[in-house]
């Protein structure tokens, strides 16, 4: 690519060639596109057109041939004069001749079909149609042939109707001959047409519907191609006459070259399509050959041109290279070009020019050597400025300067602003006595003059100079000197004094060179100052960063403070550091840490809690700086400073969120003028330390709170896990001791009987001894505990010795100093007091009192719960006892009642059956009533007995296999309705209910109770008893399966049950109407027994009822495993084993 932008002769030649080649290629392209390619494509199109036209001719002939054939049959065979059978024979012959005729028909002049024959169908006279109004009749009837539109039969085969007149004479028409011609086989001729390599032909009708295609399935699919570009041309009568070579979208969606020809009479189109790839394959081939020839030609021309350009360019390149060497100074270089033309002359001119240059250069060389030496000297002078040691740096610079200036001695003097003198900073070559004799610079001295004027001064002969102290120089053997101002950062800061033992003057250029050196030295020294300052700042930033890291990595204050003091020690050495923190409770500064002091001694100092210097920055929240503590009146503990030889002090407050946490103190052992930077540094450190201390304090506080919450949770868990008061309280005291250490503790409860506060839990006390002194320890009024109990408020005494209001002698004997008591309150009632005793004086903090109060609240709840629990247990025991007595009574009484009642029923029956003697009708009536009442009573007693047994858990389930149908049949026969009731019974259960395996008697009892209930509460209407199977066995009469249920439904139209009572009707001794005046008898045990037995049988009973409308009781009982069915094969049951539940 670079080649094409080069401005060389050869590149230009090549570019010209490329452009020429491009023009040739473009010309070829346009000629190809505009003439050759269209001509080739048109050739393809013409070929397609010819193919389509040829096929269209064939298809036209296909149709016309049949039309003519039909006309011939009509006229020649004289169809009009034939009888029907003869006509049939003729038409059959025609059909045999032309297998494409599917059906053929004859219509008379009125349009009525007289005959229709088909290859597939049978037509009777009834099937013949009237065609008078149809085009296919009217057109032939008027003498024209008719070719109908293409249509499809049920299997989608394409057909066309052809109809011709049957002429008697050329003018007289006797009928019409119609034929349904199948186009199915048109595809064979279409498929046989070859179009190029991969082309094909198809036919569409006047609507664009496909009627013939090499792929017959497409015809059957009744595809419509009217949207295909070629067909659209046909339908719009476009491009009918010429071949079209345009690439277009074909019938299958691919790019094709396509043309069509019209079949004139039926107006169909034969379309020829060929994919572009194959249709234009030859065009492509020609194109490729042409391109190859073009490319070959171009490459050849290009190559020849390139060689030619090389020949021209080579001498030019040699000329250029030679000129280039001359330009680089190779003046001895001679150009040897012998082309005999202008180039050779040009080479000669170059040679002459080189000779001239060589001569002029010789004079310049000397000047350049001198200049180079000066530059080398300057470079040598500045080279050591990168040294890290300042003194060494100056020494090195002077050495280099001496060498560069060829001076014998050099002295640098820097102006001291404070002393207004010029002390020498560095020197070389001057004898010691010379340096020692340097005095403060006089205002008329050379040094002062140079310093003030900023101009150098060159003294070629010292001896003759009026302003210079010559003796000193001459003594040192120095005869000439130069004084140069030393400028640092735009300010004259000193003077460089050069001296030589030779008499030497400096040219202006030399002086300027020396000034440059002096200036560069000034720059170097300034850089050195900046470098040192930056180093110092970097040290401080590192220190701050390390402290920051320490703060973020630990919550241990001591760690942070250690790092803090280490860093201060590093950045501001030779000093002592202290940290004091504020005790908020006592408002004093507590010593926390120190460095470079004896910590024990420092902590124990008498001023520790006093208002020392540290209090000032704490209160003012700003740094305090004292340069000399010994002379400052605010210093109170001078002895401390003297002892530790401390002179200066800086106190910086530790502030977080505008609150002072403490003070960072910094001491130096000499009078130290603290710069603002020092103070800022210490303040920054203090701010960081303050954040760390604050975080640590917060962390400790949150840890404490968390521990308390855990303790409260454990206490809470203990309380909820047991109702044993003593164990709860024991644990309680254990937990309290962890967070609020005490020497002794008690929990006292108020005894309502004795009106004392009795100890119910204690720790570390001699209970008996404390009881003996209960008037002091809390049993009675006047004690601390009693005060708490009465006031319902916590009480904290830090030192009972200082408290005179309460009895305390015993407590003091026990060594108790501090006391804390909180009341045990539940629902505003004080149950007792929790008390803690300490043998050390201690101040109880508010959070400690709050914690103990919370614990006491929980303890109070536990005690209250335990008391309630004990009460409940007592009541439960009493209830169980009374219930047992009741059951025993009922059982005994029922047994005792049954025996005599059986006798009453027996004897009444004997009398009623006249076995003892004759009775009157009135007596019989009375006996019946007696019998009924006795039976009622017996049923009642039986119910009570059942209920008692159920309650006593004495009822056992005895399972057996029995027929559900038999059970229901038994029940059915058992039931006789009371004569005075007009209630209809309806029994509905399938005869093939399966056998059940359950307790038959209990099931029967359930059903009896429910039916009895229905009978009792139904005064009129109906009672229905239904049974059905639920589950896999659906009433097939064979054994039931595990998981099957039988459902019984007892419905009545009785008085119903109010909704509010539905929840209690299954309870013992419950009746909807429980009043004394109720209409219906009974003890209310029937439903209780039914429900109990149902549950025993692992079933379920439900009731649905509407008051005044009746009730429905539904009982669902598991059928039980049909083990017998499995054990007895061959009983007609399914022998396949069922999975056991």
């Amino acid at each position: 690519m670079k080649f094409f932008v080069l401005r060389t002769l050869q590149a230009r030649l090549v570019r010209t060639l490329v452009i020429a080649v491009a023009i040739i290629a473009a010309t070829f392209f346009f000629v190809w596109r505009l003439t050759i390619e269209p001509a080739l494509k048109n050739g393809v199109a013409r070929q397609q057109k010819e193919t389509a036209e040829h096929a269209a001719g064939d298809i036209g002939e296909f149709i016309q041939h049949r039309v003519q054939q039909m006309i011939a049959v009509g006229e020649i065979v004289r169809l009009w004069e034939m009888k029907s059978e003869e006509q049939k024979k003729s038409l059959y012959r025609l059909m045999k001749l032309d297998p494409e005729i599917r059906e053929i028909a004859i219509a008379d002049v009125h349009g009525r079909e007289t005959l229709r024959l088909s290859r597939l169908r049978v037509y009777t006279k009834d099937d013949l149609a009237f065609l008078g109004s149809e085009e296919k009749f009217r057109r032939p009837a008027s003498g024209e042939s008719y070719i109908g539109p293409v249509y499809h039969d049920v299997t989608a085969e394409p057909l066309v109707t052809l109809a011709v007149p049957i002429r008697f004479t050329p003018k007289e028409i006797r009928g019409v001959l119609l034929a349904e011609v199948s186009l199915k086989n048109l595809w064979t001729s279409i498929a046989s047409i070859k179009v190029g390599h991969a082309g094909y032909t198809f036919v569409v009708d006047r609507a664009g519907d496909l009627i013939a295609h090499p792929d017959y399935s497409k015809v059957l699919l009744k595809l419509n191609y009217s949207s295909v570009s070629t067909i659209a041309d046909f339908l719009n009568k476009r491009n009918a006459g010429v071949g079209v070579s345009r690439i277009r979208k074909g019938s299958n969606g691919a790019a094709v070259i396509a043309n069509y020809a019209t079949v004139a009479e039926p107006m169909w189109a034969v379309v020829v399509e060929e994919p572009v790839e194959t249709a234009l394959a030859e065009v492509k081939q020609v194109k490729e050959v042409a391109l190859f020839i073009l490319a070959f030609t171009l490459v050849g021309v290009f190559s020849i041109s390139y060689v030619f350009s090389q020949r021209i360019a080579r001498p030019v390149r040699e000329l250029e290279q030679g000129a280039s060497l001359i330009a680089q100074g190779a003046w001895d270089q001679k150009l040897d070009i012998r082309t005999g033309d202008e180039l050779e002359g040009l080479a000669q001119r170059f040679n002459e020019m080189a000779e001239a240059l060589k001569k002029s250069y010789a004079g310049l060389e000397e000047k350049i050597t001198e200049r180079t030496r000066d530059l080398s000297a300057l470079y040598a002078t500045l080279a050591p400025l990168g040294s890290s040691n300042a003194d060494q740096l100056l020494h090195d610079v002077l050495e280099r300067l001496k060498e560069a200036t060829q001076a014998d001695a050099i002295l640098i003097r820097i102006f001291d602003k404070e002393t207004k003198t010029f002390p020498h900073k560095a020197s070389i070559g001057f004898p010691e006595n010379f340096l020692a004799s340097l005095r403060p610079v006089a205002k008329d001295s050379v040094t002062h003059a140079v310093f003030t004027s900023g101009e150098p001064m060159i003294i070629a002969d010292i001896a003759s100079h009026p302003r210079l102290t010559t003796k000193r120089h001459l003594t040192a053997g120095l005869l000439s000197a130069a004084f140069l101002p030393l400028e640092i950062s735009g300010e004259i800061r000193g003077v460089i004094h050069l001296a030589s033992r030779k008499l030497r003057g400096f040219t202006e250029h030399k002086t300027e060179h020396l000034m440059t050196i002096a200036h560069q030295m000034g720059v170097a020294m300034h850089n050195r100052e900046l470098f040192e300052e930056a180093q110092n700042r970097l040290r401080r930033i590192h220190a701050l960063r390390e402290i920051d890291l320490a703060i973020s990595s630990t919550l241990d204050v001591r760690n942070v403070l250690d790092i803090l003091m280490d860093k201060i020690d590093l950045v501001l050495p030779h000093a002592a550091v202290t940290v004091r923190l504020l005790d908020k409770d006592r408002r004093v500064l507590r010593p926390v840490a120190c460095r470079n002091l004896d910590e024990t001694e420092w902590r124990a100092g008498p001023w520790t809690f006093g208002r020392g210097l540290a209090s000032i920055p704490l209160e003012t929240q700003s740094p305090l700086i004292i340069r000399n503590v010994l002379s400052d009146p605010r210093v109170r503990d001078l002895e401390f400073y003297r002892k530790h030889n401390l002179r200066s002090y800086v106190g910086v407050p530790l502030i977080v969120k505008e609150q002072s946490l403490g003070v960072l103190g910094f001491y130096s052992k000499d009078d130290h003028e603290f710069t603002n930077e020092d103070v800022d540094f210490l303040a920054t450190l203090a701010a960081q330390a303050a954040v760390a201390i604050h975080n640590s304090q917060l962390f400790e506080r949150s840890e404490d709170n968390l521990a308390r919450v855990r303790a409260l949770r454990e206490i809470d868990l203990a309380i909820t896990s047991t109702l044993e008061t003593s164990s709860v309280l024991g644990l309680l005291l254990e937990k309290i001791n962890v967070f609020l250490p005490f020497h002794a503790a008690t929990v006292r409860l108020y005894n309502r009987e004795t009106k004392n506060l009795d100890v119910i839990a204690a720790k570390n006390i001699d209970e008996q001894l404390w009881k003996d002194h209960s008037h002091e320890t809390g049993r009675r009024a006047g004690s601390y505990a009693w005060t708490v109990f009465e006031s319902k408020q916590p009480l904290a005494i830090s030192n009972i010795a200082r408290d005179s209001a309460t009895r305390r002698a015993f407590l003091q004997q026990q060594g108790i100093i501090s006391f804390l008591g909180v009341p045990l309150i539940v629902k505003e009632e004080t149950l007792g007091v929790l008390t803690l005793y300490s043998r050390m004086e201690r101040e109880f903090r508010s959070e400690e009192i709050e914690f103990l109060s919370t614990v006491a609240g929980q303890a109070a709840i536990a005690i209250h719960n335990a008391q309630l629990y004990a009460e409940l247990r007592k009541q439960a025991a009493a209830l169980a006892k009374s219930n047992r007595i009741k059951d025993e009574f009922l059982s005994v009484m029922s047994h005792e009642l049954r025996t005599p009642l059986s006798g009453i029923i027996g004897y009444t029956g004997l009398i009623r059956d006249k076995l003892i003697g004759p009775t009157t009708s009135k007596q019989n009536e009375a006996l019946d009533k007696l019998m009924n009442r006795a039976k009622d009573l017996m049923a009642m007693i039986s119910s009570i007995l059942f209920a008692t047994s159920i309650d006593a858990d004495e009822v056992r389930v005895i399972r057996s296999k029995f027929s559900a149908v038999d059970l229901l049949n038994d029940l059915k026969t058992d039931y006789e309705l009371p004569s005075q009731k007009t209630v209809a019974f309806r029994w509905d259960y399938p005869a093939n209910l399966p056998a059940l395996t359950t307790d038959r008697e209990k099931l029967k009892s359930i059903l009896q109770n429910l039916i009895n209930n229905a009978v009792k509460f139904t005064l009129g209407g109906a009672i229905s008893v239904e049974a059905r199977m639920l589950g896999k066995t659906n009433g097939n009469g064979i054994g039931s399966k595990s998981g099957d249920f039988i459902e019984f439904k007892i419905a009545d139209t009785g008085i119903g049950i109010p909704e509010a009572k539905l929840g209690v009707i299954f309870e013992k001794f419950r009746q909807v109407d429980g009043s004394e005046t109720r209409l219906f008898g009974g003890v209310g045990l029937g439903l209780y027994i039914a429900k109990s037995f149902t549950e025993l049988l692992e079933g379920d009973i439900k009731v649905a009822s509407k008051e005044g409308r009746g009730s429905i009781f539904t009982v669902k009982i598991p059928c039980g495993m049909d083990e017998e069915a499995e054990a007895q094969p061959g009983t007609g049951r399914d022998p396949r084993p069922e999975p056991k539940a």
Binding site: L120, V122, T155, A156, L220, L221
Partner: protein, 331 residues
């Protein structure tokens, strides 16, 4: 020079990759469930059709065939076995076999091509002739719809015929449809149809044995697995009883005892179905291939049988016939 070498190598590689001679063509596997050897000519037609389309047996295509010998259970088992072998398509013949194969391939959607099955739409195997909308397509024999025409031709050939014994399958859907159509057409033509519904090939032959001239004037073959598989036996019985026997396929009419046939040929149907199989193997879903009807329906008369049973064809009938089976004229 190096570039030239690379270009030559690349061109050679491209030639190698694209050369049709080198690219390995896929070998197709087509399973054939043949209901009975009676339809063997259908398979011959199919294979010939495929060969004509460029499929060389053993190279481009492999046929896996099982003859169920008239046993529907075996047809089902064969189909299941074939489905497990995942062929490219399954070919079968007859409505009964098609039903078994179509059901068994319902889940796998293995393409099914049938060569000659009567009434696939009428018996509900596919939704329609144009778009079967199923995994099944093929060439219908048209034997059900031609029942009408065959009865008419029988009547035209033998105008004195009044009672016709029609033998077909009891269970086959095609037989049921054909029986219905035959009964309807018989009424139209004034004929009495005696349907004989058989449950096996043997049953068909036994039933045919019982037909005498007293019972019927002619025997008519209703399309069905058992009836067609017994066609040779029935023809023999018809010949013995000197009863005209009307069949409907080219293959039937050549059997001694068969008198006339109007229909297509298993062979031609099989050959025609090769076109559909070819499209299926090229990836066209069967549901998009319309069901085709036979390209030719021919009336063929067996002059030898006519002689054997003592009847003669009228000249007009002979002239209508597309082909005559006549021993003397056979080369």
């Amino acid at each position: 020079m190096r570039h030239c070498r690379r270009i030559i190598l690349a061109a050679a590689a491209a030639l190698f990759v694209t050369s049709p001679q080198i690219v390995a063509a896929k070998q197709h596997r087509v399973a054939i469930v043949l209901p009975d050897e009676e339809w063997a000519s259908s398979v011959v037609g199919l294979k010939e059709g495929m060969t004509a389309l460029g499929y060389a047996e053993g190279k481009d295509i492999v046929y896996l065939m099982d003859d169920a010998r008239g046993d529907q259970t075996r047809m089902l088992e064969s189909t299941k076995k074939f489905v497990a072998e995942k062929p490219d398509a399954i070919y079968t013949v007859t409505n009964t076999a098609l039903k078994v194969v179509a059901d068994a391939t319902h889940a796998s959607k293995t393409p099914v091509i049938f060569g000659s099955a009567s009434g696939p739409v009428e018996s509900g195997l596919v939704r329609g002739y144009v778009t079967p909308d199923s995994h099944v397509t093929g060439v219908t024999s048209g034997s059900i719809e031609l029942v009408q025409k065959r009865l008419e031709i029988l009547k035209q050939v033998l105008p004195r015929v009044k009672t016709i014994a029609a033998i077909g399958d009891l269970e086959a859907d095609s037989s049921k449809a054909a029986f219905r159509l035959a009964e309807e057409t018989a009424r139209q033509l004034g004929l009495k149809l005696k349907p004989i519904r058989v449950t096996s090939r043997e049953h068909a032959i036994e039933s045919a044995k019982k037909i005498t001239a007293k019972d019927a004037d002619a025997i008519f073959l209703i399309p069905g697995l058992y009836s067609v598989s017994a066609v040779t036996g029935i023809a023999a019985q018809a010949k013995n009883a000197r009863l005209p026997f009307g069949v409907y396929q080219l293959e039937h009419i050549k059997i001694p005892g068969a008198l006339l046939s109007y229909g297509s040929s298993y062979y031609l149907d099989g050959k025609q179905s090769a076109g559909l199989l070819d499209k299926v193997l090229k990836g066209v879903p069967p549901g998009q291939l319309p069901i085709e009807r036979p390209r030719q329906v021919q009336l063929i008369l067996n002059v030898d049988t006519a002689k054997d049973i003592g009847i003669s064809f009228r000249p007009d009938i002979l002239s209508r016939a597309d082909e005559l089976i006549e021993a003397a004229k056979s080369p």
